[in-house]
Amino acid sequence: MFEEYNPINEKIFRVIDNDGKVINKKWMPEISNERLIKAYKDMLFARTADLQTVSYQRQGRIYTYPPNYGQEAISGATAMVMRNEDWLVPAFREMGAYLAKGATLKELFLVFMGHEDGNVFKNANNMLPTSVPIASQLLHAAGIGYEINYNKKEQVVYAFVGDGGTSEGDFHEALNFAGVWKAPVIFIVQNNQYGISTPFKMQTMSKGIAIKSIAYGIKGIQVDGNDIFAMYQAVKNASEQALAGNGPVLIEAVTYRKGAHTTSDDPTKYRTKEEEEAWDCTDPLKRLKAYLISKKLWSQKEEDQLVEEYKLEVDRQFEEAENYPAYKLEDVFKYMYDEMPEDLKKQQNEYENFMKWKEARK
């Protein structure tokens, strides 16, 4: 597969077309109906949660939020391959991957409401919290990959980054180190065509991102990121490569950020309605849904009902997050060190004195 779709040949890997019809039988993966339906449901849940989160933000109940609207198949496919023992090293725009790893919406909401406690992801095994400084997390993935090899573990690291992130030096260094170390890392670039307002064509003159794998002597493939079958096949193959000791793989998932960069962004400033509409027909949910319906595995009625359930579930978790215990002064200090310096304790005490004074003044 990596030979057939060697990125030097500039051929994008695709299995179904925009109407959900299989156009590449050879590479149509075997996925049980059950699993496939679950994948669709997961994507639907992510989309529902995503849209709802944007509306919470509009209501002023959370701060900035980066929607993953339109990119759900990438997480969806990763979720089908990623195992409990594998690592997830997220960027920030792959909600489905977070959830698949065991993070909860409540925890994510907590972070977007401005509480670090959300980052604990208690039930998510082997997952780093969100990394805000673009591309810096890819090095962590390479380091984890080293540990996996060192301890001869059977694990894979799934590391996410955006198209803009590929311009950072850390992207280069991470892929290079992972290559040298033959680290079992799957670098998944969500090429959603924009880094905030900057279109992908202004990030680099290279012919896509997958082709950059050549610079590191590693495998790479450009995939239609809105085609869940293709994405699944690519991630699956990549993880087998990695587990077989063949080192890292770079997957470019070509997609489109249907929403704004974040809730504080206004895309009409830098892109056209026409462009948005042109991408609309590639929507990952539409395509999978068309496929499922054609196979009689899904119906609009089921969907409508499910979405209602999901909305309630999202609300429920949101409210849980809203009712999370208040932030305490000690939460500012407690986790700075494993062994807290005296001086930090003193700073906390001094602030407590101020709070007492303030209380007394009332």
Partner: protein, 325 residues
């Protein structure tokens, strides 16, 4: 005169210099079409073209490093770091070249560039979007570090920075980007780098602040006034080179000094000012120089940020304690 907020004022300064000097060019992440995530560069690309105001790929080391080359070749780049918390990938270029090429080449190459960056907390942001690490830049020999507290100063200081042949780190207190409006002259003017400003005179204690906290100190001064305490407020405006004379002269009068700043306490500006005052006005000190600064912690996420951010009440509390010392 025209009513401007700080966003307008910075935009105006850039506009004036772009119009006046073809060597001035402006770039960074999303500063072109979008006009910057804070809209500071809005309209400039349309006015001056994509060769003079443009989006760069997403890479801070490159943004600053290419500016080094441009400056060596005679341009006057004004680059933007989207947030000061994302300037760190550029620190190698800043420490190793921006601050040094003039000295290294014995003055043959000027590093005539400005690195703009919004900084500071109080905007309910995600991690890395709220920090105040100006002390790091202050410690790097070869840089000048400027922070305005008003639209007027922002305009005048930025024009000075762009005209300076030395590299300037220009930090913009994003919290008050739109919060303060002021009449600002429409024509070109400069505010000198390296000069602090006595905002109000007083006799009991000197408070040094800058950026968004000047306003918080002013609120605290209301409380102090009610408590019968007379505060002299100095807006530092330049972090390096610090205007020691103005601070020392004030302390010689008041005998007491408090530094109010958002960055971490240890190795921060409060320490520097304590040292300066010890050196310049030791015999006049009636109380220990006080640091009212951030904790030695990460700036908490929004739910906890109010503990970290320095409130007028906290400032007043410390004023009172210092005066009673």
């Amino acid at each position: 005169m025209k009513v401007m907020n700080m966003v307008n004022a910075v935009n105006d300064a850039l506009d004036i210099k772009l119009a006046e000097d073809r060597n001035v060019i402006v770039y960074g992440e999303d500063v072109g079409v979008e006009g910057g995530v804070f809209r500071v560069t809005e309209g400039l690309q349309l006015k001056y073209g994509v060769e003079r105001v443009f989006d760069s790929p997403l890479a801070e080391s490159a943004i600053v490093g290419t500016a080094v080359g441009m400056a060596a070749a005679g341009l006057r780049p004004v680059v933007e770091m989207q947030f000061s918390g994302f300037a760190y990938p550029a620190l190698n270029q800043i420490i190793s070249h921006v601050s040094r090429l003039h000295n290294r080449s014995r003055g043959r190459f000027n590093m005539s560039m400005v690195i703009r960056m919004p900084y500071g907390g109080g905007i309910n942001a995600l991690e890395h979007h709220s920090e105040s690490m100006e002390a790091i830049y202050g410690h790097i020999p070869g840089l000048k570090v400027v922070i305005p507290s008003t639209p007027h100063d922002a305009k005048g200081l930025l024009i000075s920075a762009i005209e300076s042949n030395d590299p300037v780190i220009f930090m913009e207190p994003k919290r008050i980007y739109r919060a303060i409006k002021q009449e600002v002259a429409e024509e070109k003017f400069t505010v000198p780098i390296g000069k602090a400003k006595v905002i109000s005179t007083g006799t009991d204690v000197t408070v040094v602040a800058y950026g968004a906290l000047v306003r918080e100190v002013q609120k605290a001064m209301q409380m102090a006034k009610e408590a019968g305490i007379s505060v002299e407020l100095i807006d530092l405006r330049t972090i390096y080179p610090i205007d020691k004379e103005t601070i020392a002269a004030s302390v010689k009068k008041t005998g007491r000094i408090i530094t109010v700043a958002e960055g971490p306490t240890s190795f921060g500006i409060g320490a520097e000012i304590a040292a300066i005052i010890s050196e310049e006005a030791f015999l006049h000190l009636e109380a220990p120089p006080k640091r009212v600064t951030g904790f030695d912690t990460i700036v908490p996420l929004p739910k906890g940020e109010h503990f970290y951010m320095i409130s007028p009440e906290k400032i007043f509390y410390e004023i009172e304690r210092t005066v009673k010392y």
